[in-house]
Amino acid sequence: MSRCTWSERLGISFNYAALTLLGMVTLFPLLHVVAQSLSSQDAIISNRVSVYPVGFQLEAYKKLLQDDAFYRASGIAIARTVVGVLVNMTLTCLMAYSLSRRTLKGRSLVMNLIIFTMLFNGGMIPTFLVLKELRLINTFWSLILPQAVSAFNLVLLKNFFHSIPDSIEESACIDGAGHGTILFRLFLPLSLPAIATLTLFYAVMHWNAYFDAVMYINDSKLIPLQVYLRNIIALDDSGIELTDNLGLFLVSPESLKAATIVASVLPMLVLYPFLQRYFVKGVMLGAVKG
């Protein structure tokens, strides 16, 4: 540090200050939402809520937890994420393993078919009509099947499998192991960081997606949490009674919106610290040349 010139030291301090400021810009709106969800109607109306709750109350959460539609939407979101990720990971692992075997005939044809889907697609309407033809519109499976494999994640995992030394597979072959044993007993345990990253990517995708549900689902019993949240925020349509029998607000609509936002990101925030070290490693996988 002693070799630093004055101007350099100034530059370094400026850098820390700028990063701190940017961090604040990200953090403040989040704290504001949490504060709003916990504040009283009076405090919100008179604009006294900044980043900590004013007139602390849990009414917004109580209202939310009394709403059947909230439970149903959360249930759909959880089911969608669990089933979706299972389908995603099964198909992606099986396919990536096959495509990483250099002896497989027709391998490059299949690879080209898959890569082409990243460059060109039929578009929203033809995809919708295919789903309609398959009688998937307005079913739970319309949220799962059209997203069953991500070409990008598949290429990522295939490249990772490539980087596993051939000698491991060869020695397993000599010991009489078939492809099933090699994949499940050797490759998957060896690729744990990659598997964890893809699981995270897929799970985040399923938990956060809403536009597919807007397109494919109009049965209000089947909407996932994100669509439920969107109806509350963008359309101001919660179906929750916020006033007492004299028509006075017990809970501010803003407070309810904020509480729903907090409830929908909670699982993500709880899992986030555990997964951070995996996904940082995982994104670097993309840099491995295939």
């Binding site: 504001h32 309407i125 997606a209």
Partner: protein
């Protein structure tokens, strides 16, 4: 044929592994590509693809002469261009800044904060944006301190595009900086030592060593970005826009959704979609060629 049979017999288990995924790609990716035929028909769901009347370029001619489409097309290009111009450099700068922050706990905390918005859905992040910009939201409260009248940001044609661009930068830049940070970590440290012996300052190090060192990463990400110029995130716009700002904020994807799925003009909307995908394909091909020509190495 006989060769194929032999290959399948030898590696039947591998082909079995491949089968479900392959069925997925054929059913949900290639069948819709075949389905774009309806862009050249007056498609009716009752008659199906084989029964519907073939009308050639009719729908394409119609949307190219349609004022609403021209507005939508211009919006898409402008918003995309702004996002590219202002948004693309941000993660690079952010990665350079984070790389210079040598205090470990500080760097980790900053990274955690910057990555989090990427994991929020556009419903959540858009909801936060809507709240912050509402008549009595954070931004207007701040403006009130300076005596400025409240602004209806999301209903204003003057601000809507800027809101799209800025909210996208805030949400995604942190996450996008990871890949640049990884690339920076891969730069040979001996180069920095040599530069320091030659008396180079921090800025010179960044300009002459770090940036050239991550050039290929920047080029690859730029190609990928260019290929999706006409697809700029339907989840974001659909969450934030409203009829007041259709004139400046309606993009191809939202337009296709409204015309195709709510008004059920399947063929017309499919034609617009086909135009969008085709332009995307051409753009990614061209930018790849340019990248190769410049010696940066393309994607393929």
């Amino acid at each position: 044929m006989r060769e194929a049979v032999r290959a399948i017999r030898a590696d039947w288990l591998l082909y079995l592994f491949l089968l479900p995924g392959l069925v997925y790609f054929l059913l949900f990716k290639y069948l819709p590509m075949y389905g774009v035929i309806i862009a050249f028909q007056d498609f009716s769901p009752f008659l199906g693809i084989s029964g519907s009347e073939f009308v050639g370029w009719k729908h394409f001619i119609r949307f190219f002469t349609d004022d609403e489409f021209i507005t939508v097309f211009r919006n898409t290009l402008l918003i995309s261009l702004y996002k590219l111009l202002f948004g693309f450099p941000v993660p690079v700068v952010l990665a350079l800044m984070l790389n210079e922050a040598r205090i470990r706990w500080f760097k980790r905390t900053a990274q955690t904060l910057f990555y989090i918005p990427h994991f929020f859905s556009w419903v959540v992040f858009g909801g936060i944006v809507i709240q912050a910009l509402s008549a009595d939201g954070m931004v207007n409260s701040l403006l009130a301190l300076f005596g400025i009248e409240p602004v209806m940001f999301l209903g204003s044609k003057a601000y809507f595009r800027s809101i799209l661009v800025i909210s996208d930068i805030v949400k995604e830049s942190g996450w996008a900086s990871i890949i640049y940070l990884a690339a920076i970590a891969g730069v040979d440290p001996s180069l920095y030592e040599a530069a320091r012996i030659d008396g180079a300052g921090k800025l010179r190090e960044i300009w002459h060593i770090t940036l050239p060192g991550i050039r290929s990463t920047i080029v690859i990400l730029l190609i990928l970005r260019l290929g999706s110029v006409l697809e700029l995130g339907v989840q974001q716009v659909f969450m934030l826009y409203n009829p007041l700002v259709y004139e400046v904020g309606d993009i191809i994807d939202t337009y296709v959704y409204r015309v195709g799925l709510t008004q059920q003009k399947y063929s017309f909307a499919a034609a617009v979609g086909l135009f969008q995908s085709t332009v995307g394909l051409i753009l990614i091909y061209l930018s790849n060629q340019v990248a190769k020509r410049l010696g940066g190495g393309g994607l393929w």
